[in-house]
Structures are given as structure tokens and as C-alpha cells.
Symmetry: C2
Subunit: 455 residues, 2 copies
Amino acid sequence: MDNITKFFDPKTVAVIGASRNPNKIGHIILSNFVDGFKGKIFPINPKIDKVLRHKCYPGISSVKEKIDLAVIAVPAPVVPDVLEECGKNGVKACIIVSGGFRESGKIELEKKMEKIVKKYKTRVIGPNCIGIYDPYSGVDTIFNPRYKLERTEKGSISFISQSGATMSVIMDWMAMRKYKTSKLVSYGNAIDVDEADLVEHFANDKKTKVICLYVEGVNKGRKLMKSMKKVSKKKPIVAMKAGVTEAGKGAALSHTGSLAGHSDVYHAAFKQSGVLLASDLEQMFDFARVLSTQPSPAGKRVQIITDGGGFGVISTDWLIKNGMEIAEMGESNRKRIRKLAPVHASVEGVIDLTGDATSGMYKECIEASLDDENVDIVFVVALFQPPMLTSDLVEILIEETARKKKPIIVVSAGGSYTDVLKKSLEENGVPCFSYPKGAADAAKCLYNYSKIKYS
Amino acid sequence: MDNITKFFDPKTVAVIGASRNPNKIGHIILSNFVDGFKGKIFPINPKIDKVLRHKCYPGISSVKEKIDLAVIAVPAPVVPDVLEECGKNGVKACIIVSGGFRESGKIELEKKMEKIVKKYKTRVIGPNCIGIYDPYSGVDTIFNPRYKLERTEKGSISFISQSGATMSVIMDWMAMRKYKTSKLVSYGNAIDVDEADLVEHFANDKKTKVICLYVEGVNKGRKLMKSMKKVSKKKPIVAMKAGVTEAGKGAALSHTGSLAGHSDVYHAAFKQSGVLLASDLEQMFDFARVLSTQPSPAGKRVQIITDGGGFGVISTDWLIKNGMEIAEMGESNRKRIRKLAPVHASVEGVIDLTGDATSGMYKECIEASLDDENVDIVFVVALFQPPMLTSDLVEILIEETARKKKPIIVVSAGGSYTDVLKKSLEENGVPCFSYPKGAADAAKCLYNYSKIKYS
């Protein structure tokens, strides 16, 4: 256990700056813990004696028990004193959500805090961050109301982001789509814990299968590169760099006060470190969903199965553009499919079951693809609109995917009816896309990682 | 009025092959008309005398009234006789949804039909197509059940697609997102009416502002190019070509029996004709949404207004990559914003209101951008999660967009709460995107079309 573990799995938590005012950050964070945290909670505020049915303490020193994690939500000028008190009382981990430091020109205040951190060896995330969301332990320092910002369910994707807004908005977006996560962290100004520390921690975290990293600028580039190089063969790392244009760098500078650096340098460093590059946030989680649920493919031969010819054509285009290949199934498996498929179906190359497709036909085609030695990845376009196609195709896809024999990627475009089925697929570990492009990019990413892993 | 109008706005419709069996195509289509069509409906089937509370006729000749549109849903071998009867009885427009012709090797059957079409000058859409959906007139020949495939509301985007599955799935997808449409057509084997006829018809259709075209292969390339060239200065045409790789072309051949041709030739022809190219289906409708609701920009200077710094950085990156520019607002408007914005906000270049943004601040920034002569396009990143930001920002965005002073494009990422607000924006003519990339691509498309229009 490294000294980062306490952030994610504390037994005791103090919320410093706990408040009775429901609009205050100190109230929202406390109520998150009251709602979802299984350990002990200690609100700290010298002005009140009770909040949310919990006894309130005047300071950390008046709590008799050992505090594993302190969440600090007090005005910036008070933060150093609070940090000192935490250090004195043996608190091992602090998340400082308060803003008003380097990003507002208060560099001296931050330096003062850095000294305290060194003195007590306290580990600190922040300041100027949103902190942590961990659905397993219930640690949740996100100070956006839950009706506006949904929380994700337990999964295996972890996400590291300097930016708090980016981290929390992404979570909200993922939650509605039933994408699941392990640990989400916004680390802000990073006076202590940085990207590299988190990457190394997640490398050893059993609940994390894929590490996602959103960066604008990095202060300790070599340290991060070293960590990524070490970790990327063990677990996939997907990274996105923002501030890749000159104007974007300017925007990043005024956003976080950090230099965005030359994007070519970043991209080269990421590639050398075995990191998978995403070009935008949506793609980052498209990659992560597939990497966290699907086995490594043995090669790049993709079998497309579709009930809409046009979607088969577009899928083929995108896969080929991505350097993948269309699988050529063996004759015995092709025969097996021909027996069941509609007379006007195509079974050479792309299997087009047409609008007469049934879930039984899909099952046979998927199983033939899983059995066939010429197929590495199964790419299922399941348009649920045709009258004969019943929703038990969802169960079939879940069962076949659970076998983990070969990666299965699903494309399913549509409205409300389709949306319900897609969410059910996602919840059960079947990555599902609306359009062929995203799915083809994810297939390529899966193949790319198989090369990184075994290189 | 050209002779295509009858397809979209008939007063009398015959459904040939009307059936009492709810699983039959002839039943689903008839019930669509019974549900939504305001004109007179004549079911045709010699074996039954009543269906869905409508009198059923043994044949077209036994209907006393003039039939404007006949929808033919009978087995392929019977279609030529039915077509002949339609011609004899003066039916001016027929949609043949039945399949089993050229795509199944029955070329002779199609040739026979072509002769009948010439003889009577009947206009025909199909065969082997899904036909038409027009929310204004209630013409709806889509034979997928409505619970599986939602219908779109009245709007101004028209869509032309050879492929029926592509057309109908797209509609379902659009309906859930509250994207609105005018006329959607799948024209199948095109023995008579083709893409060019439809492009020219939509050019004169008052309810169509943008024409979208999905093609795999085109039979009469020169005719289409001529039509597009004529129309594109009057109304934007967005086209997507599928089957751009060799393998994709093969898939297209087995899908529709048409040669996909060389993609470079298509792309060159599209560009020469003033057509905007979309690289995938989602992007096609991203473009169409913006083109159908927003005015032409005077230039390419984009003012970004955001409450999330990271999203501001990513937006800048994508706009610059697309060849757009970040606007430099005049000092007087900047002052106006500085007065209201939070102290730690950035107002040079990208306006970052931070997580302390309120809807009042957004209003001021949008109005300053609309007033400022250095701004051509207003790019609003509205992340709705911050506690202080109220949902009346939706009304502000709708009002400011309705002024049509300059194009406004919105980015709003999130979950269920955000989704409700996004749908409200879409319904009221404000194009809204989940991530910066799609919005930046749409901004570029808007600028590109302004150049085509005024070149």
C-alpha cells in the first residue's frame, strides 16, 4: 500500500469547513460523505456544534480518532494554518478544494504550503481542484449538486485530470450513458501529488483496468514519462493533450497558469511511453470502454455483421482507413451462416443479414466469428428497428461478450427504444457506439494496445 | 409545381397491398396514413373488404376518385401489373417499397417496369426502398413500428438516401435528440426518380433549408452534378459518400448492386458543385442543424465564451485546426464584460467565466459578442453543472439566437439534467453539441458555406 491509498480508501474523514448553508461547498461535500461513505465522518467548524446530524468539532486536534483523509474547504488565506494542524495531528492525506492560489497570482501562499507538506510528509491533492470521486469507497468531494451532476457506478476506468470542470462534466456525461468508472481525480495546482503519482498508484490498483489522462500542461515531464513507460505494458494508458495549437496554449495558460508546451513533444513522449493518444474527450472514453471490457485481439482482421447495408459500407470504410482488415471467414463457417441467413443476405466479407435479420441469425454469425481462426475482432452493427429483430439480441450480445474469447464491439444507432437497449449493453460490459467511426477507432485502439502490450 | 410534389403533398393516397395482419408491411404503412395523413386514404386488396375502419377496394380502377399517390407493397412479381393499372388509371406518383428486383438479380423485371413508367409518365420512387417521411403532410411509408423507430417533428432539413435502413435509423436517432426535419426520402433502386430529381425538387421546396445527401453509388453522375451546381448557391447541400475504400466499395456493390466509383472523383465533383462534404452521418446532421438554423457569418473570427477552462482550451484547439480564428473583441466591449465577470475570470481572447458563472454574465458576454465588430461567430460553452448557473440560460440562448444577428453555436456536455436543457435548445433552433470538436467542425462548415454562397 502506497501513501496515496488513503485518499481513495480512508476509514475516517474530516471535512474542514463543514457548513450548514446548503449552497456552500463545505456543505455539499459533507452531504456527499453522509450519503455514500461507509467510514466515520468528522465535520470541522468552530462556529457550529452540529451539522447534518453529525457532531461538529472545532478543529482536527479535538478529534480523538486518527484521521485518514481531511477535505479542506476553507478560504485560501486560512489554508496553511489548517494544513499545519493536519500535519501536527498526523493526518496522512489532504484534499484542498479551495481556490485562490497560484492561478490567482498567490504564489507565496502556495510555497508556504509546500513547506508544510514537506515538514509533515502529508500527501496533498490540490489546491484549486475538485478532488476525488470513488464509487467503491464513497469518497466524493465534488461540489456540484447531484441533480445537476450524476455520479457514475462502479467500474474499472480511472481518470486523471488537472481540470475540475472537465473531470466532473465527463463524469456526468458518462453516468447518463451507463459508462462505469473506478477512480476519478482532479488534482488542480498539484503542490504535491501529480499525474505521475496517480498513474503509478492506479497501476497497482486492482479496481483500475484502464488509466485515462487529460493534460493541459505538465510540470514534471520526465517523471511522468518514466511512470507511463513503466505502467503502459501492464495497463493501458489513454491520454489527451489539450492546448495543442498556439492559441490553445494561450487559453491553457490563462486557465491553469501552466505552460502547455509543444504538442509534438508531448505526442512523441506519449508514443514512446506506450501511451494511446485520444484526439478528444469523447474518443478517450470510447477507447477506455473497449480497453476495460474486451480481451486483446490476436490480429487486425475484423468480421462485420450488420442488418443495415449502408452501415456495413461505412464501417468497412472506417476500418480500412484505420489500417484494419476485413476478415475472410473459412468456408465451413460461411456455410453454417448461409444455412440460416435470409436468401438475399450477403455472407462474403461483410455479413449483411438485411432488415430480415433475427436475433437467432446474429447469434449464429457471432459464434461462427468467435470460432473462426480468420477472425480477430467481431464488429456487430445491430440496428434494432427492423420488425423481426427482437430485443433478446441484447442478452445474446452480453453472453457472447462475457465469454471473452475475442473482442466484440457493437454499433447501434437510433432513438429512445435503441437507447434503452444500448444502456443495457453498456451496463453489462458490451461497448456500444452510435456510429461506425467511433467503433472503428476503438477497434484500432484495441489492436494498437495489443501491440504495445506484447512488444 | 413539378411532378415530384405529388409524392410529398397528395390529397388522395392508395395503399396497394393493404393488410389486416399487423406484421405485414402493407398494414404498417396503412396505419401510418390512418394515424397522420389528413387527405383521403384508399386501401387496396381484393381479398378483404375493410381494414383499419376503412373500406377496402379490389383495385385502383374501382376507386372513383383520382389517386395522387399510390404506395405499392405487393410481392415483386405482381408489381408490373399493379404499376400498369396505376398508369392506366392516371395515378401520377407511385412509391414501390417491395424488394426483390435488381438487387436480387431480377433485372428483367425492373426493365419491364421502366417501360411502363415511360408509357404512362408515372413518376416512381423505388423499388426496394423505404420511401418517404414528411411530417408536414403525414406521408409516411416507413414500415418499422413506431415504438422502435420514432418520427421527427417539422423542421427544415431534408435528407436523400438510397439506403432505407440508413434513412430510417437516422430519423430515429434525430427524433430522440429533437432535431427536426422536412422531407426524408429513401429512393432504393431508382428506376425513375433519382438523387438529382430530388435535389432539384428540394431546391424549390419552401420547407427545405438544407439538403442532405447520402450516396453509395450514383448512376447518372453528370445529371446529379448539374443539379447540385445549380442548387448549391441557393441552398446548402451536405453530402456524404460511403464506399470510399476498395473494401467499402465491395460492400456497397453487394448492398445495392451499384458501383461505388472512385471516391476522389466523387469528392472532386462534390467540391466543384459547391457541395459541403461530411465524413460521417453524425457530422452530416451536425452541419445541417447549424446551416438550417443559423445566419451566414461575415468571417471566421470566433468568440468563445465558457465556464470550463478545459473546454475553452479544447475548443480553441479545434477551431484553429479547422482554420478559424479566435476573435479579439474591442476594448469597450471587453470593459463591459470585465465589470460583470468574476474577478478571477479571463476576458482576453477566450472568455472564461469559470465555475462562478451566472446566466446574467453569459447574457452580457453574448450580447457584447453580437455587438462587437470583431466577432463573426459566437461559440458558447455552457456547462450547466456549476451551482450558481441557473437553467434560464436556456431562454437567454434561445432569445439571442432568435435575433439571427450572428451565428450562435452551443457546446454542453453532461448527463440527464443537461440533456433536458439541450433538447430544449435544439427544439428552439439553437444547435447544441456535446463536445467541442463537433461544434468547431460545424462552425467551419458554416463559414465554408458563406464562401460558397457569395462566391
